[in-house]
Amino acid sequence: MSAYYHETNGHNGMSTKQHRNGNGTYPQKNSGDEYMMPEEEWERESVLDPAWERQQKKTFTAWCNSHLRKVETSIENIEEDFQNGLKLMLLLEVISNEQLPKPDRGRMRFHKIANVNKALDFIASKGVKLMVGAEEIVDGNLKMTLGMIWTIILRFAIQDISVEEMSAKEGLLLWCQRKTSPYKNVNVQNFHTSFKDGLAFCALIHRHRPDLLDYNKLTKEDPLTNLNLAFDIAEKHLDIPKMLDAEEINNSIKADEKVVMTYVSSYYHAFSTTQKAEQAASRICKVLSINQENEQMMSEYERLASDLLEWIKQKRPWLENRATDNTLNGTQAKLGEFRDYCRSQKPPKLSQKAKLETDFNTLQTRLRLSNRPIFTPTEGKLIANIVEAWKGLELAEKGFEDWLLRELRRLERLDHLGKKFQHKCDIHEEWSVGKIDLLKSADFKQYSLNDLRALLRKHLAFESDLAAHQDRVEQIAAIAQELNVLGYDQITRVNQRCEKICNEWDQLSNLTKQRRSALTEAEKIVENIDSLFLEYAKKAASFSNWLDGAREDLVDMFFIHTLDEISGLIEAHNQFKATLGDANSEFKTIIRLVEEARQICHENNLEITSNPYTNIESDEITSKWNEVQTLVPQRDQDLQNEHSKQQQNERFRMQFAQKANVVGPWIEQQHEQLQQLTVQVVGTLEQHQKQLEAMETSFVQYRPHIDELEKYNQQIQECMIFENRHTPYTMEVIRVAWEQLNTQLTRQIAEIKNQIYTLEKKGISEEQMNEFRAAFAHFDKSRSRRLDPKEFRSCLIACGYNIREDRQGDADFQRIMADVDPSQTGFVTFESFLDFMTRENSEEDNVDQLIQAFKTLSADKPYITAAELKRELPADQAVWCMQRMKPYTGADSVAGAYDYKTFSSALYGESDL
């Protein structure tokens, strides 16, 4: 049994019992632990040390007054002022915050006893068994009065400190030890000698309010200064009245434990109030800063999305526009522009798009982790919208380059055909000039018979000449036709010229027919034919025709793309050259015929007449023959030049192919490695992240190879090289693979970072993480890094979820799906799987915690004021709150009151109704 009171820690709190001995006095002991004093010892009369009595009187009076001042009263003499019981009842009301029965009015002794009894009954109702009688208080018994006040202090100021199931005294001691442990020279072991030098008091103050004193300047050697310093500061700044006397504490060998405990308990209450407010404020700050950061990420997402969509909107019409200006230069310029788009404009936008996607996922992960509602972007800026717009862009882009190259090819061919057309027309017109006049002439009417026959023969020769020209006219018409089909921009002129030639040709044919019938008619009259020139005429006509053809062939233009083609042309030319010997003998034969005729005329003294069978002069034949002989070596040179050009083209092809055959497999290999890293994490996530980042660096370093390849590709395009059979890779394939490689890596890094973030936030181990990864990988049969609903369902069952094969199971599963795939993509990513599997098991109510924190800051009011917000929170967060809080509208509202309850639930997307 304890001496003064006895504590037991029952399930319903603490009960205090007091035992009294026969003569009704309360003993005070000189030494030892008075709380555990054996019962016999405290029976002794007048053991209360006068010094201790004086100390208790001073301290308890101060303590009572520190509470009574709240109702604007005080006591001066502790054994007298409580005698009538009135102030005692008042004191109890103030410290318990409860109403006591109405006191009896009247000054009679029995009134006083009744009032003191009401106070004692109230104390007893708090589970404290008192062994003091009302009469002793009314009689002004000091020892009894002090004993009663101590009981009150113990019950109302110290008992609720009990930490970790300890007794009140031990609880208060533990609190002192914890708070002073970092301070040198302080070692709190009891409530008397440990406080003697004052450092313990100073340490307690400094620990909570470091601004109030400089602890390092204090020394053990100056206890009076220390004690007075602590008492002064506590009175001035902490609103704790002086309850102790510094000299008395310092001078007594062992101060009274009760007075020190009483005083220290006032410190405890003063500090715990501020501490609670600080905790509440820091809790609110944490919640608010998460919301602020999230809002910032949301607006950043919106900004990036608008940017990107605007850029796509700008670029798309340009890519979709397939209008041509029909010029080679214009089309080349467009190709250059497209090249710039592929190389400089698109890649940064692609990474922007990837960033947008990863930012979005990171934000959603953060929101989920902090139990906030998910983020829905503004209409039209959803990830799906971005992806769709991007697809649209790529669709528009697809085939754009192909189209440009086709267009280039078409324009080049047009250019070639146009020139060929001109050339053929020139030759034809040169031939046809004057023919119509000739055919129209009726010169033969007065001719002799012989002359007429000659004329007929001449006409027959013309007819064969005409037939020989038929091919060319057909070619001219065919070229004109192709120019029409290909959309030649000078088609009107071509058509006019072609039409003129065709019309003329028709006219020639008709006239020829008419003339022939006219001559045939006259033939009956013509009998004699001069055969002198006949042979010449025959030979000269065909030879001249051959010469015309040869001249044409020798300047014919070629349009080729391969070495084989040029070799073919050279071969054909060599074959042509081989026939030149025969042509030379034919030429000599023809000249000899003319010479012979001349010789005969000369010999017969005849005037040389013109050859009636032909208009082809031997001079003409000679000059044409000479021309052919000049053209042959020129042709040799032209073909040789073309051969060199084709060889160079082949070199460019090889150059591109060799590089592409290195770059292509490198990208494939990198891609494969990245895929491996994607599926399997070896080592810790941080090691994995480092590995990926090393890869990223190697990609940046590899970039010059891609650029070099681009340079070769440009060379190839500038030389109009369209095919390359030395490599399976085209620039476009390399570009796409390279971009994909980079995009995938960026995404990988972001995912790993998210996982690390999740790991830290959820506090799960690497081992657990690896187990989740393994489970996910097991069901991800397609290696697409996401599960379809069927795979996900199997995965959940494997993870221990009871999802049955019935309607209830379907309902459960659909609910989970809606939870992990809020955007309804139809798939579950590893991130959302991880998030789902690591959801906290205890459904802690964030909203209520936040409301509780605000309630603490507002001193238990249902609203909070601007002044309170500004005082308790950092300035920016206070402003942030005031901008979003609605006015409080309850019946007990005051001006400028804010509604923190609605605000708190709105932060989590909820509302109290």
């Binding site: 509602p373 998910i374 890779y729 085209t730 489970a775 659909q814 609910r815 809020p822 909820e910 109704l913």
Partner: protein, 128 residues
């Protein structure tokens, strides 16, 4: 999501004044892509023993909620003295595993096909 899988329950609530709380906390709405639903219920309130945490709200006064924003629903609920609700019991109840998970070792990964395989033309490259 197929909502017909949940039993629907009509509930009628009444209060004497707008200052009287209904006594429940609302969450969700189309803007949060979460069905409108009951988060918690206060004891001895009009909602007590009629609404339960996890209940989805299918309709309010005959109005379908599937395209309602949180704020829209909140305004209707705040400014009514009588409410005719149709609930989907247990729509939002959290599902938890009932037995330990199967362990999966991280076995050898299946071979990955190359990004550039068979990509001789520009248009048939593999998307991933």
């Amino acid at each position: 999501m197929d909502y017909t899988l949940f039993p629907t329950i009509p509930v009628f609530l009444e209060r004497s004044s707008l200052d009287h709380s209904w006594g429940f906390r609302l969450q969700g709405g189309i803007d949060y892509r979460l069905p409108l639903s009951i988060k918690k219920v206060v004891s001895n309130s009009p909602a007590h023993n009629k609404l339960f945490p996890g209940d989805g709200i299918a309709s309010i006064d005959g109005q379908d909620t599937s395209s309602m924003k949180h704020e829209d629903a909140e305004n209707i609920l705040r400014n009514s003295l009588r409410l005719q609700l149709v609930l989907r019991r247990g729509q939002l109840t959290t599902i938890r595993p009932s037995k330990p998970a199967v362990k999966f070792g991280s076995g050898p990964a299946t071979p990955i096909s190359s990004a550039l395989n068979n990509t001789t033309t520009a248009n048939n490259y593999r998307r991933f």
